[in-house]
Symmetry: C2
Subunit: 692 residues, 2 copies
């Protein structure tokens, strides 16, 4: 663990401070909205702040692409820089607002990000908040995000928080009472991997417990999970998910009242309560359900974090960050870069990039074309300048742009009194008059998101299926009748099966304030698309295991048995060129990869390394063990060195024990080494056997 | 009446057509959503379309400033051109959509605009739809709008409709049961004037009845009002306001059921029913409450209109209007022109125009700054490119623009879980860092609009007072503390008393898709503001007569007794220069005005002529009788000839009889000839006595 001395120093200061408090004062500090202790010079503090993709819910900030889109960049540096900027803007606003003694929610330095849950099932509404289905990718990008938020100095820039610990991925509708039953194998091979990595290798300062139970225990008070944190050497603070402790007695029924729930959480090691249950801690103390020591120990944890953040010092190295950095042009440019790297081109018959010389009129059609919501995703900030898909195309294209909303995102009509499909005439008309159609489809946080969020009309934020809403299916049929080339753009935080062939198909995710600029630059060939899927795109969610089944068998590229239900594989994404891996060597933790851009365009691409243990006890197809985003020039060769962690040379036995292996195969390509990926990409893979 | 022969021809064709119908078929054509009569080759037709400021509710169109803003231009040509473009876009979409046999609501050629009700009380939510408080201004601009929509040819381009006939101006909350009691004097001098003018002088094709009763009779079935239409020679179609006929038995209680209500309306002369009550016409026929002749006569009226629109011809002169005109750049430029002419500068201590050389950072603050809703107003279309106030300033200014929403439009906080006023820290911070603040305040259609509209939270769309919402009052206080120059911008459809002094104050109305560009060009001095108030801005609505009192006594500049309750007078508006009328002559229906631009900027301004009968029976202060928008150059003189209609030389006796007068005084200035207006404008007026 780095910064041991600064941690010990902070802990000592925290102990001294808490020792001066009455037990009532100490208990009050365990609330997320902890009040001031004026006699000790401690200001009020609200622990709740959000930053999945930029500082969220605190007025204006840079709005980066949603976390799932950041994952699609397969770019560790990009993710680090996004987090670093997020942290900078958070400090800038904290500096300004705390001077005004504004200690309100979303204005502190404890960011409840990243979300490193495994996106196990494509129906989960909050999958957009994660880095996808792969534990290695999740851990690698999660660590970069933590390091970007927390910085490297003795004083933490902001505190990251790994959530939701653990085994949490829907369904949203039952999250408050659900019990995720899970094998030792899946825990070790999938669900705990990234948490362990973030704690051991990135010193993540916070961990948030999940709503659900895990094998019978509520995650926010699980002896088993808390034991894992202890084993990994976790020394930060633990926070409950919001109002999760109330679920103990209202939904999980493991306690009989709020006093017992508060006691159960505190005794298990939950330091701070997002919610209101810890107002009962003093009653619990009176009833002998908790000890004063437990209350003081939790307060010490929390003040250790606050002291590490410099919150009780007269000055910190971050005090000079000026407000003017907030949403400045340089930060927006980074949001643009991330969006351009994140969009995944899934189909292209050659229509893209569009030839501006030949195309005089473009029809931009669809309910996501001029939508800010599809740029925002959820847990978002607010930009002072959004570039929608339509706006980006208008800015980039000198010819005529004709626009139609085409249909409501999911309702049958736009005007209340109209007949169904009241914008199809307009959509068809503008399509007919165009040389090419950019058809903007997808979802937004009103139908893909979190339980309890305003406006979620479908399945508490989860998707009922992988299909687009019916209104959009009818729009597609109508626009196709116009007979013009169609570039479909899908904004969503997850896999979508459009059930249609288009001349080109771009999966744009929720792409942040600059999403439209990035899309336009891709469409017109100013940049080549280079994003890769961080999740498998399935044909049909009905062919997957039940949504409530947390076993990984038959899920994700690591465990599916064949490609029958796969539409586009994990790791897949086209560019305007073709990059082929030509050679692979492995030595001493490093893979040396040679590659060639065999096409006619300069492009970035991602070299993906997969590994499989040659051992019959290994239950996995293979898994990602390294990756690197590379710049390539048309017709030119290049080389990359990619480190592979030692842990890649282990595997988990069916009993859930991680063991070292002795023979492995490593595969290198710009995609997965399966036949579907090779066919879709038009390139093969190179492999090498390694004996440990 | 113009086009007598084409009217007679159309009526004959309509009679012949209706004579071929069964009575059931004829009755079906009296519904606003009239079905096809296939055996006669008559397609379905939906009579309901909207166009107060551009084609509304039919997908993409050019969004012009709201009607009240068009009135503030005091520019007959501008209003004509806006209507002409609206009509062109309506035809373009009609051409495209009717080819696809899409006959849905908002897609026809019968536009239910303009709204020429007198904006009697500043609390009325729908006052924004009107041309203000003055009958002459309303009639003059209303006629221009009608002519712009209908065109001059034998085939009408689109059909205008004068609404809501008559004596209709809130309160919205009681409109379905309200009985407006009104004197003969006010009817003649105020409420009927514009309707008579539009019928006699602009051949408006349609008239829509109001919801309320007028002196006991429901307006959609009033013998008195229908008699007026007959007296004026109205030969078009009469439509009920939507679901107004149902009010007869459900709210007004003048009939006992829907059959009786339908019969009452038809017998009075209501040709088409917006609503569903006329499905009972056949029952009414069976019960002997209506005659077949009445049904057929109404159908003849309706088919006369459809034939005049060329809807039953194989071709019309408008068939070649291409879809590409819709929301084209040229039309958007007209929306920009209208917005630039409409904005009224109410205060300026010299801060405006801002000096770009001296101002490095601008803070744009407030809930209307980046709002599309404040550009749209109500009864709006949808633009494919909105320029918000923030966006306009960002586009025009090379320095740093810092933005904060500042507060919710009317709620106490932006984030649900936050403390009240959760954006004030941000607002204060950006204000403090700026060289000047553009503070964007006001309302939108969610709190100023129509009864029954989604989201109206206050008084069914009416304003409870002239004050800004409390959240904005607190924002103003907070921003003022930063001590920077403040340019306040108020977006609203009516009078607002901000209760604060600012360095400058611009009343921007609901300014259409180009509103932000226009505002920025005014702020930076690319154009001089030149809009004039079409309504009196009062200090306090509580000092006005009761909202339910329809007497004009004590209301509007024509009848108020002193300026005690006047904040800014009707006709008032500053420019970046000063334009003084230097001489006035009157001869033969024409006023010759000399004026001089005494300031340092080129500007447009409005020469306003007021007239007063020198007769003790004349009850009015004076009234507008002519106006002209003029271009002026700094330091230069100019001349204008303004026609004054014959009717200006009449007045209405206290008994409600319009009589000719013999001695009049005419006043000319760029404002009203009262002392407050002179003081606020810094210029005097010139007057001349006229003996008839």
């Amino acid at each position: 663990m780095k910064n041991v001395s600064s941690y010990e120093n902070a802990r000592k200061r925290a102990e001294a401070l808490v020792s001066k408090m009455t037990v009532e004062e100490a208990a009050s500090q365990l609330r997320y909205d902890s009040p001031a202790v004026e006699r000790l010079g401690i200001p009020a503090y609200n622990w709740w702040n959000e930053a999945l993709h930029g500082l969220a819910r605190n007025g204006i900030s840079t709005v980066f692409p949603q976390a799932i889109a950041l994952a699609a960049t397969f770019d560790v540096n990009e993710v680090f820089e996004v987090a670093d900027i997020t942290s900078t803007e958070t400090r800038a606003k904290y500096n300004a607002f705390s001077k005004l003694d504004d200690r309100d929610i979303y204005k502190g330095l404890t960011m409840w990000a990243p979300n490193i849950n495994i996106f196990r099932d494509p129906r989960w509404g909050r999958g957009q908040e994660t880095y996808g289905e792969d534990p290695f990718l999740t851990a690698t990008l999660g660590k970069a995000y933590v390091k970007g938020l927390q910085g490297e100095g003795d004083i933490m820039k902001t505190a990251a928080c790994a959530k939701h610990f653990a085994v949490h991925s829907g369904p949203e509708g039952v999250r408050h009472e659900f019990d995720a039953r899970i094998s030792d194998f899946d825990l070790e091979d999938t669900y705990l991997y990234a948490f362990e990595e973030l704690i051991k290798d990135a010193d993540v300062e916070g961990v948030m417990g999940a709503y659900n139970r895990v094998n019978g225990e509520p995650a926010c008070a699980s002896e088993f999970l808390m034991g894992k944190l202890h084993d990994w050497g976790f020394a930060g603070y633990f926070v409950s998910d919001c109002w999760a402790i109330n679920d103990f007695h209202t939904h999980h029924m493991v306690t009989s009242n709020a006093v017992e729930s508060a006691a159960m959480a505190l005794n298990a090691g939950c330091d701070v309560n997002c919610g209101c249950c810890y107002v009962n801690l003093l009653a619990a103390l009176e009833q002998g359900l908790v000890t004063e020591e437990k209350i003081r120990e939790a307060a010490v944890h929390l003040f250790t974090t606050r002291i590490k953040l410099g919150m009780l010092d007269d000055s910190t190295p971050f005090d000079d960050i000026p407000y003017s950095v907030v949403a400045c042009d340089e930060h927006k440019q980074k949001a643009y870069d991330a969006a351009a790297k994140a969009m995944v081109m899934l189909e292209n018959n050659g229509i893209l990039p569009l030839d501006k010389e030949k195309i005089k009129t473009i029809a931009v059609i669809g309910p996501t074309a001029n939508s800010v919501a599809v740029l925002d995703g959820n847990y978002n900030g607010t930009s002072d300048s959004y570039h929608t898909f339509l706006g980006g195309i208008q800015e980039s294209f000198d010819g005529r742009v004709l626009y139609s909303e085409g249909c409501h995102l999911f309702k049958d009509k736009v005007s209340v009194l109209a007949q169904n499909d009241d914008r199809l005439s307009e959509a068809y008309t503008v399509a007919s008059l165009s040389d090419a159609v950019v058809l903007c489809l997808g979802l937004d946080a009103s139908i893909e998101g979190e339980e309890g969020d305003t406006g979620n009309e479908f399945a508490s934020g989860d998707k009922p299926s992988l299909k687009l809403p019916e209104s959009q299916i009818r729009l597609i049929e109508c626009v196709k009748k116009a007979g013009k080339p169609i570039i479909a753009v899908v904004a969503a935080g997850s896999a979508i099966n459009t059930e249609n062939k288009f001349d080109a198909l771009i999966h744009a995710w929720y792409s942040g304030s600059e999403g439209g600029r990035a899309l336009a630059d891709i469409i017109f060939g100013k940049v080549s698309p280079s994003g890769k899927l961080p999740v498998t795109f399935y044909e049909d969610s009905d062919k997957l295991p039940e949504f409530t089944d947390y076993s990984m068998a038959g899920r994700t590229y690591r465990y599916i048995k064949d490609n029958e239900n796969v539409l586009y594989p994990f790791g897949f994404g086209l560019t305007y060129s073709g990059v082929e891996v030509t050679a692979l060597e492995y030595n001493d933790g490093r893979a040396k990869v040679s590659f060639k851009n065999t096409g006619k365009a300069d492009t970035q691409d991602v070299i993906e390394l997969y590994i499989k243990a040659d051992d019959e006890r290994c239950n996995e197809n293979y898994h990602l063990c390294g990756f690197a985003r590379v710049d390539t020039s048309a017709g030119k060769e290049g080389k990359a060195e990619i480190s592979i962690p030692e842990k890649a040379f282990t595997f988990v036995t069916p009993e859930g024990i991680r063991v070292k292996g002795d023979r492995f195969t490593i595969y290198a390509s710009t995609h997965q080494p399966d036949s579907l990926s090779c066919k879709l990409n038009g390139t093969e893979f190179v492999s090498v056997s390694v004996q440990i």
